[in-house]
Subunit: 299 residues, 4 copies
């Protein structure tokens, strides 16, 4: 995690605002933020979905693609879900993101709303920590033809579709057969996602800077199945067996769902572009973890 401390103007000119749409609390923070940014002379774009009705001259509305192309900092107001949504869309643009929390206490939105002015001012002045978080890409294919694809910031989950509870699949890593499994499915998680659904399923916490992916089985029929952690540059393939009688689904961050039919394959690899997350200087990942999980403080 790099640390920046620029004393003058700072590195940013044009700030994009995204977040939870139609939410009164998020709207309140968007207003505070807009005022602060305009007052300081920044150019400001509000994402159309969230900014409609809130935009103040001379800020303007823009779609997420324009925001990704034009802005040099994106501030997301919402919960981890909003951040993940924005991150998945903006990963290709190499723009840093900052989150202001207006949801459950999150792992990604680490500025509290009451601190908006103070923390954002510091960050605009170039006083922040920056870290990279990678994303995964998943493609569903049949006979080497890609049928559906999407990205994931947290996790990719293979699970039963509407009817059946138990699915069967084979897992390969860099082409080497790992195991076949029957069960409720499989989670492929980034370090970012390792404190989300994966944790509920018994997966390990991967430290944010770790260049690794975890494979966490969901209620596996084989009782000796265990989470496996592999280097992030390995290619993972899941073959959804011909023997399944019903379709499965592939969820990306719980926000995008792709259909998977018996005989189809899922290929998962790390995206080339990582996401740049900004944090206030006093950011402390383990403090966040202790608070969220109720872990013991100093003796």
């Amino acid at each position: 995690m790099g640390s920046h401390s620029l004393s003058d103007r700072g590195p940013f000119r044009h700030i994009g605002i995204m977040g939870k749409p139609r939410n009164p609390e998020a709207a309140e923070t968007i207003n505070v933020l807009q005022d602060l940014l305009l007052e300081k002379g920044f150019r400001v774009s509000l994402e159309t979905g969230v900014g409609e009705g809130l935009v103040r001259e001379p800020a303007k509305l823009a779609n997420w693609r324009a925001i990704g192309e034009e802005c040099d900092l994106i501030i997301v107001i919402g919960g981890d879900g909003s951040m993940i949504y924005a991150g998945r869309q903006l990963a290709d643009f190499d723009v840093p993101m900052l989150g202001i929390n207006r949801g459950y206490l999150g792992f990604l939105t680490d500025v509290q709303p009451t601190q908006t002015r103070e923390k954002v001012t510091e960050i605009l002045a170039g006083d922040y920590l920056e870290e990279e978080r990678f994303l995964l890409h998943a493609g569903v294919s049949k006979e080497d033809q890609t049928l559906h694809e999407s990205d994931a910031f947290n996790d990719i989950v293979l699970y039963p579709g509407e009817i059946s509870r138990m699915i069967e699949f084979e897992v390969f890593i860099d082409g080497a057969f790992v195991y076949s499994q029957r069960g409720d499915g499989l989670i492929i998680s980034t370090p970012t996602g390792s404190t989300a659904y994966s944790l509920s399923a018994g997966g390990p916490i991967l430290s944010p800077g770790l260049d690794a992916i975890s494979l966490v089985p969901l209620c596996p029929h084989t009782l000796s199945s265990r989470p496996i952690v592999v280097a992030a540059d390995r290619k993972i393939e899941i073959v959804f067996a011909d023997t399944n009688q019903y379709d499965a689904q592939l969820s990306c961050d719980g926000q995008v769902r792709l259909p998977v039919q018996p005989g189809e394959s899922i290929r998962i690899f790390r995206k080339d572009h990582s996401l740049r997350l900004l944090h206030p200087k006093d950011y402390d990942y383990f403090r966040l973890l202790r608070t969220k999980l109720g872990w013991g403080s100093k003796l």
Copy 2:
């Protein structure tokens, strides 16, 4: 994992033999191996403890230090325990190791005794896979003075000494406070150790090539405690709290035990020297895992 294929003489001249002492089955394989090596004109040294009474002219007995200094390949006959014992001693010498299994089916001794002649011949000809496995170093210190230290190939375990069951400690990573914990202790595991004790304690499997360490709590009092995986270059410190009424112990691979008193600290980091493991060309880590853990084969 690198692959070597030299057609002629191969890279080795002087072979060291180590392994399980006073074990009739290991002795049988040592004899087969000695004959093979001498017949092919290699120089051979048997480690004193294991070779006493077995050595055949012109092979000679030598202590492990001489073996580390003089040999350019070490073959260990025994189980994973023998391999770990040898590995911890030889890590500083940069000599590659090969294991022939004469114990429980292991993860490290992947040549079966019936295949000794065939597989060793291939490997001596330079036809093998080579991989690196890192070790950990642990030091117990008080007020920055190191009191005891050792290395570990599998894992370092903090656990209660003779009397008390519950111990209290704080964990720091690169100086940042992670949590305090009460419980039966903590396992710090390498990828190699992740399929040993750590796995029984609920830890994840770390793929052998992964540059990471896992921290796995033993029966933690805080139910939301979970295994954490961090990059292998991070420094881990465990402070064994002043509040403990009894001593703890620090086990390295279950083979070396260091005493730890209330108020002392344990510092753990990756050793600079890694161990070079050789495998036959048909080595398949996941096949080993499937066999050992009873995982499902292809559908």
Copy 3:
């Protein structure tokens, strides 16, 4: 578990045969069994679905209801799934059941097909062990009006319907509030079901004779959630919260599915009628468990 040893004719007159329909292996065993029973002078009824095309004079076809009413022993040929299916339908009739295995090695169908003549002959002579296994009843209701209901021999599972992954619900035992939970759902399991889906989800094994029910959470958001075991005569209520945006489903043994809408309640209690299972005299529950789970045999 009671033991019977009658030397003469035995307690049975009219035998019902049920099982896996349209399965060549099951059909083979049905023929062996039919021959044996007719040769010994028993009256024989084949369940219509499974017996069509197989019935031999003077055996007759009958639906499951007639079988439940007329027979004094029912033999099921198939896997645990067939046994559970038959058990759920016949629980009200107080007829003992015996299983002959023609599926995966099961917990309920403990006569192997090659032993059919030998073991069935013994049992018909009154030489068997008998045990009781209770069933659960589940009713989905709104404002005290029951909308859907069913029985379960293994387990009752609340889980998300088509769209959402995370559901919210409250659990009550004998009217006392236990907890609210967000997650993938909840398994309510009998001892019989404790070695099925519940085991994959981290639930404990309940010994078959134990008069208890387990509540096992599926990927609970609260990491300190744990399986709870309560006496079998306690009433369990799950309130599927109003706050859910999508429907859930209630699965009984994975064979019957009932819809659950936000604001509806699920009430679960033990059925009055238990199922009577017959086993050969050499039946050994823990041997079965050791074989199925790969547990260690005697040292």
Copy 4:
């Protein structure tokens, strides 16, 4: 759980006080309690260890045996540890116990110190809930001769003695072989103990009224090992294998430790006498559980 509501004098005459010795906070509550009891005209005995220096005329000091024989209610001031200690000693006397909490928030000491006067007054008037909690008896024997024995209120734990980490043992239930296991040991827990050490080891919560015992393995080498729950009247035998090279220990409630040598057997069964626990009328087990474990409150 029975409910009592006597309006007049109440069922008690002579109250025994036990608890945490040499603890200023416990002493404070003992004084409040003594004053209350003497003022109301009860006879009062303080256990010698805890009451030395605190006793007020006409209360008297007595050893625990005299307290068990003479008193008709025992009030314990301390944490769960004090309650368990008292319970193990007094189980044979059939005297009800009440706990006032002066330790960590406990499961057994459910009167808070600030409520001492109010709650104790109610209970003395006969206004309380009463429940039974059973204890276990463990005997270590060799060739059918008992060498050591003790009782346990929470749990009996077999674990390695000083030197070795891994022990081997066989488990039998009512004489039937269950499994052999290598690992860190085994917990045999009552429902009372199921929220203590057993819970940290992955065991299920057994509802207090459940007549059952759980067997929870500690870091078992066999990954498919799982907690098993059996009826409380079953006899459990653990054979500490001849193949172990070092001694083991048997802990009763973590307070009594018995040595176990290779080849010795441990027999565990429910004690005939149960403990009678009194609670204030507003006692709510699941509320306690929610508070202790941080579970979700009503939606």
